[in-house]
Subunit: 329 residues, 2 copies
């Protein structure tokens, strides 16, 4: 009998607008080595391809590539996971219709799999984190924006063009703040870490007694969470408001997908213990009765959900591949 | 080779708060006979069971029951489709934990299947209507409330407790009108036929020049649609506003489920030709670019989506049964 760790090794890559991160992951989801570089945002896809090659080499030092199952890449969308093509990354120059999987397979001589970052993180939590053993759960990442992935009836929910689960662009307040997508009222525009930072800067400017007033334009969600832990009144108010806004969207997710659990990750989730009472209160009072018992919990893999999920794509490929019939019409 | 019509006959039952309707349906989705009774809302479940027996007899006159594949029942939730038990129908007295499938099977000596009304209608449109051949679509019914059913990746989306797809209770305006569920801002409370009637009565009371002013307290969504067809200014304004509100919710459904098509049924959909331009405009301007091309169309089976869908549950049972692993946790 083999232990999970002996089932194989894979490298997970998290291609983000700020950093490219890599981790060597074993079959039990353990991270054995990691490395990161600042993303070359202006050099074009080929420069980033070289960064990925360097990171794979760095995390597998002393190993032969033949001992790897392959490389799984998590990237922002829109992308075609099945074709292995990134259709566009707005924050990176020149990333239009990039056949990343074909390029990397040729460069590395290894199987390569591509997945949307929200879904990769959901898969990471599903296999090795807070979603283990569940057939229905929603992963929500709250950081610069709000994204996520949905596991429903024991499978990744894909939809047309594998585009299901754009949860951050659910309108929750039609007259609310305008989103980066151009629409007013998206959940992301109200409740992301970016939005929390903006509201905090406005409020702090007129609240000189708060710890937050000292930060000026550098004030972000991180400082709000830290100040709330010291009992700062404004910070606690901001956290309560953030929990309320997260609660509105999470209750919608309960009604729409009926998960057994909602798992919250991303930067803001580092303050999840502060947010959870307000979110729970919202769920217990605003969800329809059959949904009120559904737990909302923090991601267990922290910042590694996406890296581990990406690696697991090649460790257990058959279970997670997009479905042929779910391609764009 | 058999024709679709020769695949069998079944009776579909649509158990509603106002009417119990029945239809004899063939394997191609054609309605061969129909009957209806006003629901005995105070006599308790056993009185309604007798009504269903009468309706089955009426729609199958001259046939032997052995020529039927069975009876499919569409009912409002919450219900446990797999166990065949209605957990509760708030508008009917005494409907708590009613084992309807077991009762009816014993009374009729036929296979009986139970399904949530939104999902039954979605299945009707999927097999025989506007959703034919699609792997991903959302059925939305807009009448007294807003409900629906979701087909995703070629299957009915179930979720925990088979409760996915409570689309009417998605919050779209946290400060909006209070819903029958008690929460402010549900889509249903803003955009159902009931909500349209309420707004119309308020507006008509202060608009004596409108055709709508004559109806007083009897004014409903139906009269608004009729007056809009004659060019009444207030009615056209109300229709435009209704299309806007439907558009907000439908764009959310696109982002969340990524259907290939959204199918709109229910009473308000009888004015779908009037609503469609406004809905389409909303989708083309407010959906994220990859979702803007998704069509929003009227249900093809009209008021029969649920009846035909319910019948089809026993005509092709294997494809549509709830999944064992999707039971409540």
């Amino acid at each position: 009998m083999t232990s999970p760790a002996q089932e194989g090794l894979a490298v997970g890559i998290d291609l983000g607008g700020t950093q490219v991160r890599a981790a060597l992951v074993d079959g039990s989801g353990q991270v054995l080595a990691r490395a990161a570089q600042r993303t070359d945002a202006v050099g074009g896809p080929y420069a980033v391809l070289q960064q990925i090659q360097q990171l794979v080499a760095e995390t597998t030092q002393g190993m032969a590539y033949r001992d790897l199952r392959g490389v799984g890449v998590s990237a922002p969308g829109p992308l075609d996971a099945q074709a292995g093509v990134i259709l566009g990354i707005p924050t990176l120059a020149g990333w239009v219709d990039v056949p990343l999987v074909a390029w990397l397979q040729q460069a590395l001589g290894l199987p390569v799999t591509l997945e949307n970052d929200g879904i990769a993180a959901a898969i990471g939590e599903w296999r090795f984190g807070a979603g283990r053993g569940l057939s229905d759960f929603v992963y929500v990442t709250v950081s610069t924006g709000i994204g996520g992935g949905v596991i429903a009836d024991g499978r990744v929910l894909r939809g047309r063009g594998q585009l299901a689960g754009h949860i951050g662009h659910m309108t929750i307040a039609p007259d609310g703040a305008v989103c980066s997508c151009g629409n007013p009222g998206c959940w992301e525009a109200q409740a992301s870490g970016t939005a929390l930072g903006q509201i905090a800067r406005q409020r702090a400017a007129s609240t000189p007694g708060s710890l937050l007033a000292a930060y000026g334009e550098t004030l972000s969600a991180r400082e709000v969470m830290a100040a709330a832990r010291t009992g700062d009144t404004l910070a606690l108010e901001l956290v309560e408001h953030e929990a309320h806004l997260l609660g509105i969207g999470i209750v919608n997710l309960l009604h729409l997908y009926s998960p057994q659990t909602v798992v919250v990750g991303g930067g803001v989730a580092q303050g999840f213990d502060l947010l959870q009472p307000g979110i729970d209160q919202h769920v217990r009072t605003r969800a329809l009765p059959p949904f009120r018992c559904v737990p909302v919990v923090a991601a267990q893999l922290g910042q590694n959900s996406g890296l581990v999920g990406a690696a697991s794509l090649v460790l257990a490929q058959e279970a997670h591949r997009p479905l042929a019939h779910a391609l764009p019409a």
